[in-house]
Subunit: 217 residues, 3 copies
C-alpha cells in the first residue's frame, strides 16, 4: 500500500478512528443481515448503512456534505467489512453473537464516538452538543440497521451501549475543551468507551428501570 | 432566576413557545418510555428525542445546525420534562394516559407548530413549506419516539393530531404572510392548534377512511 | 396550461423526471395506505412522504433546502398522485398490486434515480456519491412509506429494486462523468432502471442469499 493511502487511512486521530470504525461496523451490520437471511444486496446495504449512517447524520447536523459521499476510499472500507462478515460466516456457526463480532461492535462504538466528538468540537457546538454528536455518530448506524431489520433499535434495550458513548464523549469534552489536549482527549475517549463497553458486556451490567427503583407506587 | 435566563426562556414568541414545547414533549415522551418499562437511560433518550427530534429536523430542512446542539439551556429544559414524568409516575397510576399528559401533548403540539412556522417564515420557504415545516416540527418528535418504542408512528392513526398542526400552520400563513402581523399570527397559530386538538380528543372526532366514504366498490 | 407552467414541469431533463416521479410515487404510496385502511389524512401523508422523502433526503445530503419546500408546484403534483390513487381505488379491486401501480412504481424509481444522479453530479460528489444519492433519491420515499406503514422497508426484501437504481446510476456516471453527454446519460439512466425493474418483476428474478450460495457451513 502506498504512503499516500496509509496517510489517508491513519494519518491523524480522526482518520485512524474513522478507518477502524467503518470496517468494524460494516462487519457487525452485515453479520446481523446474514443471520436474518437477507440476500447479498440486502447484506451489503445493512452493512454499509451501519457503517455510514451515524457519520452521515453527524455531518448533516453540522451542515456539511457527508464525508462518505465525498471521499471514494470510505466505500471500500465499508465493503471490506461486509466481505469480512461473509468470510466469518463460512468459518463460524453463529457469527452475529461471536466474540469477534461483539468486540468489533465495541471497537466501532469507541472509534465513532471519538470521530463524532472531534467533528463536533471543530464545528463549535456546545459541550452538550459534542457529547450528543459523539453518541449519535456511534449509535446512529446500529439504530438504522435495526430499523432496516424491523427490530426496535436495540440501543434502548442494551444497557451500557449508548451510555458508554456518553461517558467517552464526556471524557473528551473535559480533556479537550478544558485541558486543551486534543490528541490525548481522542485516545482517552476511545479507551473509556471500549473499556466500559467490554466490562459491561462481560459482567452483564444494567441500568435500573423506574419500576426497579421502587418509584412506582 | 436571573433576568437574562428569563429573557432567553420567554423573551420573544419563538423563545416562549420553544421553552413550553420542550418541557411538555419531554414529559410526554418519558411517560411513554416509563410505561414500556425502559431503563432510566432509555427513558431519558425517548424523552429528549421527543423534545428535540422535531426541531432538529426543522433546522436541518432550513440547513442550519440544530438549536439544541448550540444552546446549552435546551438540554436542561428537556431533562426537566423527563424529571417531571418520573415525578408524575410516583403519584399517578397510569401517567401516560392521564389528562396531564394528554394536555401536555396538546400544548407541545401547539407550541412546536408555532416555532416551526416562525423559523420557516424567516427562512423564506413557500406557503406550503411553512405549513409543512410547522407540522414536521410538531409531529416529528412523537413519530421518532414511536419508532424508538417500536410502534407504528401514532400520528397516522390518531385522527386530528397532525391535522391540528396543519390548521394552525395555515392560520399562521394567512395572518403572517398576508396580513403581516407576526405576533398575532403566533398566538392564533398556537391557540388554533391546541383548541382543535383538545376538542377533537374530548369529542373523539375522526377523519373518515376511503372505505367509510363508500369510495371502495 | 400556460407555457410557463409547462416549462417548469418539463423544461429540462431534471424537471421532466421530477414531475413524472412525484406523481408516480404519490400514487403508489397512497395506494399502500388505502389498503391499510388509513384515514384520508394518513393516505395523503403516506403518498406525499413517498413522493418527497427521497428528494428531501437527497437535498439534505448536498446541504440545500428541499426543493419541495421551495417550489409551490411540487405539492400539487404530489396531491395529483394521491387523487389518482383514490380514483383507481374506485374502479379497481386491489389497486396496490395492480399492474398500473407496479408500472408507476418502476417509472418513479427510474425518474428519481435520474434526478438524484443529476443533482449529485452538480454538487460535485464522488462517483460512488452519485450512485448512492441516485439510489437514495429513488428508494428513500418507499422506505419511509414502509416505516410509516410499520413494515420492514421492502427494498431489502424486494430483489432487484434498489439494485435497478444502482445499475441506472452507474450507467449515468459512466456516460456523464466519463463521456460527458449529460442529456443522453439521463435518458440511459432512466431507461436502464425502468427496463431492469420491469424485466425483474416479470421474470421474478432474485439475488441469492449467502445461505443459497452454500457459503454457510
Amino acid at each position: 500500500m502506498s504512503q499516500d493511502v496509509l496517510t489517508a487511512l491513519f494519518g491523524d486521530p480522526f482518520a485512524a478512528m474513522n478507518t477502524v470504525g467503518l470496517v468494524a461496523f460494516a462487519l457487525v451490520g452485515a453479520s446481523k443481515a446474514i443471520r436474518e437471511e437477507f440476500d447479498l444486496f440486502g447484506i451489503a446495504i445493512v452493512g454499509l448503512m451501519m457503517a455510514f449512517a451515524g457519520g452521515a447524520t453527524r455531518d448533516l447536523l453540522v451542515t456539511r456534505v457527508p464525508l462518505a459521499l465525498q471521499t471514494p476510499i470510505e466505500i471500500w472500507l465499508g465493503l471490506l467489512g461486509v466481505g469480512l462478515a461473509m468470510g466469518l460466516n463460512v468459518v463460524l456457526s453463529t457469527p452475529d453473537t461471536h466474540p469477534i463480532t461483539l468486540v468489533s461492535d465495541a471497537i466501532g462504538l469507541a472509534a465513532f464516538t471519538t470521530t463524532g466528538a472531534i467533528v463536533a468540537t471543530e464545528a463549535g457546538v456546545s459541550a452538550f452538543g459534542v457529547v450528543a454528536i459523539g453518541t449519535i455518530n456511534a449509535v446512529g448506524g446500529g439504530a438504522v440497521a435495526d430499523v432496516l431489520l424491523n427490530r426496535s433499535p436495540f440501543i434502548l434495550f442494551e444497557d451500557f451501549y449508548a451510555s458508554c458513548s456518553v461517558l467517552g464523549g464526556t471524557a473528551y469534552v473535559l480533556l479537550s475543551s478544558v485541558a486543551g489536549v486534543d490528541g490525548v482527549a481522542a485516545a482517552v475517549c476511545a479507551g473509556t468507551t471500549v473499556l466500559v463497553r467490554l466490562v459491561a458486556v462481560s459482567y452483564d451490567w444494567h441500568v435500573p428501570t423506574v419500576q426497579e427503583l421502587g418509584l412506582r407506587s
